[in-house]
């Protein structure tokens, strides 16, 4: 296996032995160094803002791969790894690299072309193609957990664009918990009712168009790790609104790039809450 990569891209030569190479990988697959997918092969209009507005059609992009491995490497095992990494039937997380920073994309694999022939093994070289589809054009940073009590908390997102990937967990006992953000005038989400001890309110938001669109449940402590399972917990959506002065519908809000203030409140019995979010990039 090689330890370093000479990378020529758009006429520029990056990296050298002993220096940090610039990689444009999409999927990380252990032990298959050549399968670092080339980021500039993105063809799905992922550069800049989405070409279409809200609730339009989804996006597709194609990754073409040059696969190389050391002579004598077990190609079948490596290719099996690649197949396993791209065999997710539903939306999965794929790690991409840009300038040595890891990002996560949420996509599903539409189609794969992975070499099986013996010649590729003998040559130590092959070509593969992975077709991805996603309704979310963003790449995301690592998840950050922020704890809130009744005080305001300023969070600073390193992202470049708004992110709608966050999770709000409020342990009981608590009455009328509410979280709001300075990201917008009506960025308020309130649960009207009481959460008893030993239970939690879990609200997880996904970008519009993602499946599921959100989770809003009241679950027991034992169910907290499986709240995203169908049938687990009680549907809490009907008790969500936009705050005392807001609309009847919950007013979802994004995590914006830069600094913003989150405020947690309730009318009784607070043990605080946690707000977990991913910064958004494109």
């Amino acid at each position: 296996m090689s330890e370093a990569v000479y990378d020529t891209w758009n006429g520029l030569t990056f990296g050298d032995n002993g220096t940090d190479p610039v990689k444009y990988g999409l999927i990380e697959s252990d032990d298959l160094d050549g399968a670092e997918f080339d980021g500039d092969a993105l063809t799905g209009a992922f550069d800049g803002e989405a070409a279409t507005r809200l609730w339009a059609s989804g996006k597709q992009w194609v990754e073409r791969l040059d696969l190389t491995a050391a002579p004598g490497a077990d190609w079948e095992d490596l290719l099996d790894d690649l197949r396993a990494a791209t065999a997710r039937p539903d939306v999965g997380e794929f790690v991409t690299h840009h300038r040595n920073t890891s990002y996560t994309r949420f996509a599903s694999v539409v189609r794969r072309t992975i070499p099986r022939d013996a010649n590729a093994i003998e040559r130590g070289y092959g070509e593969a193609q992975i077709v991805f589809a996603s309704s979310d054009p963003l790449a995301y940073g690592a998840a950050t957990v922020t704890s809130l009590d009744d005080a305001e908390v300023v969070i600073t997102s390193p992202g470049w664009v708004d992110s709608e990937r966050w999770k709000w967990v409020v342990p009981g006992p608590v009455t009328n918990p509410q979280i709001s953000s300075t990201v917008g005038d009506s960025a308020v989400l309130r649960y009207v009712g009481s959460i008893s001890s030993g239970h939690h309110l879990v609200v997880e938001l996904f970008p519009r168009g993602q499946v599921p669109g959100y989770y809003a449940k009241v679950v027991s402590t034992a169910q907290l790790s499986t709240y995203d399972t169908i049938g687990v917990g009680t549907n809490a959506y009907g008790s969500l609104d936009g705050g005392a002065a807001g609309p009847d519908a919950p007013q979802w809000f994004p995590v914006a790039p830069g600094a913003q203030t989150l405020l947690f409140g309730c009318t009784a019995g607070s043990s605080g809450c946690t707000f977990t979010w991913r910064p958004g990039f494109h």
Partner: protein
């Protein structure tokens, strides 16, 4: 793309196609068809709620919404597409009792879709149909606005209301409610006309049932009809009574307006030995309560007579009696009537009359005709002095006003303000010479005519008209002039105007609005100004525009 490792072979050759195998072909992937809400655009939400109570059940953030539409004097619609693998569907549009293994059956009625923008409820209505496309992995829903409920109501229950409350069906043991005088009356299943049992009577006398009827006003129809299925013995005699009904005003003892029609008797045409229907009629005295008595007669102790399906009905009319009320009150009364408990309860729709028409009339709708509510609405919409109606989803109410909408006098529809639209200017049917044929086909046939080529640069373009039979001779020339007046003008057909969605807030654009003579495109404008009234507004979310029709 370039990624070459140090350990790669010195010579890298392109692989022949044969060496690259497609391992998975084109799998059917249930991918979403939607993109994220990018940036800080409008905050749109599709929320599914319980019908009537509007209790939120779920929000479908994966949905693609197709043109919520608001229609004047009609029902607007909205299409929705959702990935079939959205688990939120289980929370709102699936019958919970059918969920097994993570799947369940759709259950649409009893749910309503609400479209919100920026915290404002803009559109609401029931979801009435769904189509599952397994190839695309998409569920398509048809939604209609709240007016759809009104389209599913008519005036009058089936067979109208039986004033005997089912006593005459003869189904209850002991046949309660019937007073026997000189006869025995027993329930039997050996012969019947409807249901499981009939009443078998024998003896000389009658079985009677009575009820009190509240006072009606002088303008109402006081007719009470009793109808019954009867099976008579072949030994019955002509003129024997079968059935009778009488109304006695409260506090009195005498039958009101006794007449032969109060009785049904055996005559030469009466079927004997089989089931036949007979009926009798009485009239209620107005302005006072009436006691109505129905009598079933048996004329001999030697043979039986059977009765079944005895019902008493009024020629029910719903309405507003003299001196009547404003036409907008008619709309209010009709909506309230179809939502009354006796009509099975309502849809939670309130009524708002914004202004009256100034025309007072009585209203009478006969139950027996079962007119559809929206057909009745159309009779008012089509009147020059009638009203418009529309739905207000925010307050869940049906609104009435002599004319909805505002005159958009300050808004110009020009090629610089609209996104799309236009008109078709058609002169292909223009005529400058009109001939109207009279009756007959001989050389003596009279003909009317009119010619004015000033609008066609001197060109004589003919039009031949064949008037209806019986058109008077003196009418031929005026008819020719009238037709010329119409056909000498070009036909202008306006296309839907597409305007930015911000006009909703900026100008309050809604169905019923009138755009007067402000339609221009560069140096052009439509013939006769091109003013038009908006009949329908459709919101295209993909382009964030309003389509005005």
């Amino acid at each position: 793309m370039a990624s070459v490792t140090l350990d790669a072979p010195a010579i890298v050759v392109g692989l022949p196609t044969a060496y690259v195998l497609t391992t998975a072909g084109d799998p059917r992937v249930k991918r979403n068809r939607v993109a994220v809400d990018w940036g800080r655009g409008p905050r749109d939400q599709l929320i599914i709620v319980e019908a009537v109570t509007e209790r939120p059940l779920a929000e479908l953030r994966s949905a693609v919404i197709d043109k919520p539409t608001w229609t004047l004097n009609g029902i607007g619609g909205m299409g929705v597409q959702i990935p079939v693998n959205d688990p939120t569907l289980l929370d709102c549009l699936v019958d919970p009792a059918t969920v097994t293994g993570g799947t369940g059956e759709l259950n649409l009625l009893g749910r309503e879709a609400q479209f919100w923008r920026n915290g404002e409820l803009r559109w609401a209505g029931p979801i009435v149909a769904g189509e599952v496309d397994m190839g695309k992995g998409v569920l398509s829903l048809d939604c209609w606005d709240l007016g759809w409920y009104l389209s599913r109501k008519f005036i009058g229950a089936a067979e109208r209301r039986d004033k005997l409350n089912g006593l005459g069906q003869m189904e209850e043991a002991g046949l309660p409610g019937w007073t026997r005088t000189g006869v025995t009356m027993t329930r039997t299943s050996s012969t019947k006309a409807r249901g499981t049992y009939s009443a078998q009577m024998i003896g000389e006398g009658a079985a009677t049932a009575s009820f009190s009827f509240p006072a009606i006003t002088s303008g109402q129809d006081g007719t009470v009809l009793v109808t019954a299925m009867v099976k008579l013995s072949e030994a019955e005699d002509i003129a024997n009574p079968i059935l009778s009904v009488k109304a006695v005003p409260a506090g009195g003892t005498d039958t009101y307006r006794p007449a032969a029609e109060n009785w049904a008797e055996i005559d030469e045409d009466t079927l004997l030995g089989g089931w036949t229907r007979v009926s009798a009629v009485c009239h209620l005295k107005p302005n006072v309560a009436n006691d109505v008595t129905v009598a079933l007669w048996s004329n001999s102790g030697a043979h039986s007579v059977w009765f079944d399906d005895v019902r008493v009905m009024r020629n029910d009319t719903v309405g507003i009696p003299s001196p009547g009320s404003d036409l907008t009150d008619h709309g209010r009364a009709l909506v309230n009537h179809v939502q009354s408990l006796e009509k099975g309860g309502g849809f939670g729709l309130a009524v708002k009359v914004f202004a009256t028409c100034g025309v007072v009339e009585v209203l009478g709708v006969r139950h027996i005709e079962h007119p559809q509510l929206l057909d009745l609405f159309d009779t008012y919409v089509n009147r020059d002095d009638g009203w418009d109606w529309w739905l207000d989803p925010q307050r869940r109410r049906v609104c009435f006003a002599p004319r909805r909408g505002q005159d958009q006098v300050d808004v110009a529809l020009s090629d610089r303000s609209v996104v799309g639209g236009g008109w078709v200017h058609d002169e292909s049917e223009v005529a400058s010479s009109v001939v109207v044929l009279g009756e007959g086909d001989g050389i003596d046939r009279p003909e009317g005519g009119y010619e004015d080529t000033s609008g066609t640069a001197g060109l004589s373009l003919d039009y031949l008209d064949r008037p209806p039979n019986g058109t008077r001779l003196s009418a031929l020339d005026p008819r020719a002039r009238s037709i010329h007046a119409q056909r000498s003008q070009p036909q202008t057909t306006l296309k839907p105007m597409v305007v930015p969605a911000t006009w909703w807030e900026e100008y309050g654009v809604s169905p019923g609005d009138v755009f007067g003579n402000h339609l221009t495109a560069g140096v052009l404008r439509p013939a006769a100004g091109g003013g038009f009234r908006v009949q329908q507004v459709a919101h295209d979310l993909a382009s964030d525009t309003l389509e005005l029709t």
